[in-house]
């Protein structure tokens, strides 16, 4: 059980690294817009990345 004398300090150091990373991300403005990144993953603007044989034919696509 003596291992906790080592592990808990390591946990505290890791937690303070997490705090530092979090502060850095807040200060660099990454939490200013919490809405649009959630949507941006849904835009299929990656047509050129899809392999040729896996493409859906244009007329099968739904138009809305």
């Amino acid at each position: 059980m003596d291992i906790i004398f080592l592990l808990i300090p390591i946990a505290i150091i890791l937690a303070s690294c997490a705090v530092w990373a979090f502060f850095w991300s807040v200060n660099s403005g990454q939490y200013e817009d919490l809405e649009s990144p959630a949507h941006s993953i849904l835009y299929d603007d990656d047509d050129d990345l899809i392999p040729e044989d896996a493409r859906v034919k244009p007329d099968n696509k739904s138009n809305d």
Partner: protein, 829 residues
Amino acid sequence: MTGNISNNDKSLGCYHCGLPVPPGSSYTTIINQEPRSMCCPGCLAVAETIVGSGLDTYYKHRTEAADSPEIRGKELPESLIQELALYDDDNVQHDFVTKTATGSEASLVIEGITCAACVWLLENHIKGIPGVEKAHVNLTNHRARINWDQTQTPISTLLSEIYRIGYQAHPYHPDKEEQLLEQEHKRATRRLGIAGIGMMQTMMLAVALYGGALQGIDNQYVTFIRWASLVIATPVVIYAARPFFIAALRDLKTRHLTMDVPVSLAIGGAYLASVWATITNSGEVYYDSVTMFTFFLLIGRFLEMQARHRTGRAGNSLLNLLPASALRIIEGEEQLVPVNDLKTGDTVIVRPGHTIPSDGLIIAGNSSVDESALTGEYLPIRKKVDDQVVGGTINVENPITIKIIQTGSDTQLSAIVRLLERAQEEKPQVAKIADKVASYFVAAVLITATCVGVGWWMVEPAHAFWITLSVLVVTCPCALSLATPTALTAATGTLRQNGLLITRGHVLESLASATHIVFDKTGTLTEGNLSLQEVLPLAEHNEDECIKIAAAIEKHSEHPIAKAFHEQAGQLNATDIQNQVGQGLEGFIGNQRYRIGKPEFAAQICESGLPALPKTSGQWLLLCNQKSALAWFRLNDLIRPEAQQTIRGLQALGLECEMLTGDNSSAVQEVATHLGINSAISGVSPEQKLLHVKQLQEKGAQVVMVGDGINDIPVLAGAQTSIAMGGATDLAKTNADGVLISHDLLRLIDGILLARKTKKVIKQNLIWSLCYNLMALPLAAFGFIAPYMAALGMSASSLVVVGNAMRLNRLRKYKLKTTSTHSSSKAEN
């Protein structure tokens, strides 16, 4: 023979902006393999640009129709390009463009963003411009940050590209208040993060301690784990929980007890006791409760703050009313200068359709000026030499030359803003239920804790301190202080999804207790612009032909009356247009001479003389050729279709509806009668509006004000609750407590119903958490409660409160009834 013009066929709406497509127009383009019809060349140009740059997936992903573009023509007008070119100047740029290592970075505010797809479209379109390195658009505050190489592309190109896809970009100059808001937001996020990480870590260590308490654990490990918990919990208490301590101190100084006092007492007390226990190696530690409690409460505060900041775009709102540039005349030469450079005594030319840059006197020309932004009067007012004009109003008909007499903070526009600030200071405070409960609660807890402490001191002094402390922790008002914010957050979210955005925390409570609801007329109960209501042909031409002729002539004018005809414009072309200020227009189609406008003016050219005015009241225009009078046109500001039902619904809920308007015409009484409003006051200035609402408040009324214009801003700020229409000016929106983003008045009824339900839920929550505390109190007082039981009980009671608040996520929408005549409007909820 009466012909009603209806353009409301929604199935034919413009594919880009959703506005109705005028019959006979032929603006189509291919989007996603299908031809789509557009309402105007402006939308067509925007859609073609979007498709042309390969970004047509925008149309698939958007959840809202786009705003109608400001530019109605196919190409950007020369004047706009010239104005944008002003921003290429280094002096103008220095307050919104910063130099970076690889180029420049510009901060812009973008108008017209409606959904996340807009952000995607803007970012991708801007990134496609040569020289642009990075483009980031923020959906929440509509700001854009663009990193680009200024030597490759001037900033005016970036701005005009944004215009070309249907948005408007302005430089972003943050004012002090806005910078403070941004800092507040960042600080709150950091606090939440610290509390979250701290909570998880202490909870992990607490599990070890609880496990040890049940199974047995060596004393040296207990001491070590306690010290580790102390290290982690300290920043949470000192940094994350600081707002509670500061607020509690402030409230104690002003001698009223709010929720912050018991919160600080619980956090501070439990933390200090735990520190004492750690150092002396005795008693119990409560680090887990302290950190969890802090985290829960911070989440509530954070959500509340986010709702409040959502419309915080005040920085540019006043600026946007004024144009960016003006045409100054120096020694007979015209020169385009930024508005900020104008001084008293300068001479400025204002072209028709342009905004007057500052207060001034007309020294040449006569025209009419659209003062609707300041007065609410939607018809332009005639102005001649020596008349005064006000900055921010729009010159409608002829070019005028003005001499500037006031600039900057001396202008009338600034005076309105000052009036607004004063009204905000004097705004009556809404008493919050939670604060009322808190004051009794604090007193009760303190008295009980003292009694328990004294009692145990006499019976068994060794246990007195720890039992008193467990009383404080157990009665820790976690559920109590979550009772209100969770209910408010849930209700705010529901209303936002339904088109009513709440921006201040007190709104739901004050909506629930509202007694009076005061509406502005123009733009709130009515659509806010003139539209063609009726055509009465008098001669051989039929209705359609008359409209075509009128539209061909009116096409050349920007007067609000002429705009009513714009969407009817066909292929006919009129030439030699002459504009008689305040009278009407004259023009030729082929060889035929036509006049349209005031009956007396139009009838002057025709042989048959003036025909009898139709009986229906309203604004009548006459169209004549040289032979005879051709047709009467009736124009009116349409009442919103849902307005009547809204008023009835609100009256059925027991609210007193009033109308307060700057408009002085006979239309006021007509609208009031039609809608069933008993009290309508017309022709009032912004000051008088504010005064009226204050008088109502002195009589004990709880007033909700609904408005849209600049002239409504002071009264919006002065009423207990203010709601701005979605189409209102930014300044009105940022100063209102709520915004009707869906433009649908019926959502007000939803708002009031949900607010009343919220009040009920808050009361239930408060009662529940008080019951829990009352039950736990005697157990703690007799020393039966171990720390982990206190933590469990606290979480359980908080969950019940949160679950109860979630019930507010459901809302049965109040629907527009299709049969508008005499239906009993009873609340459906």
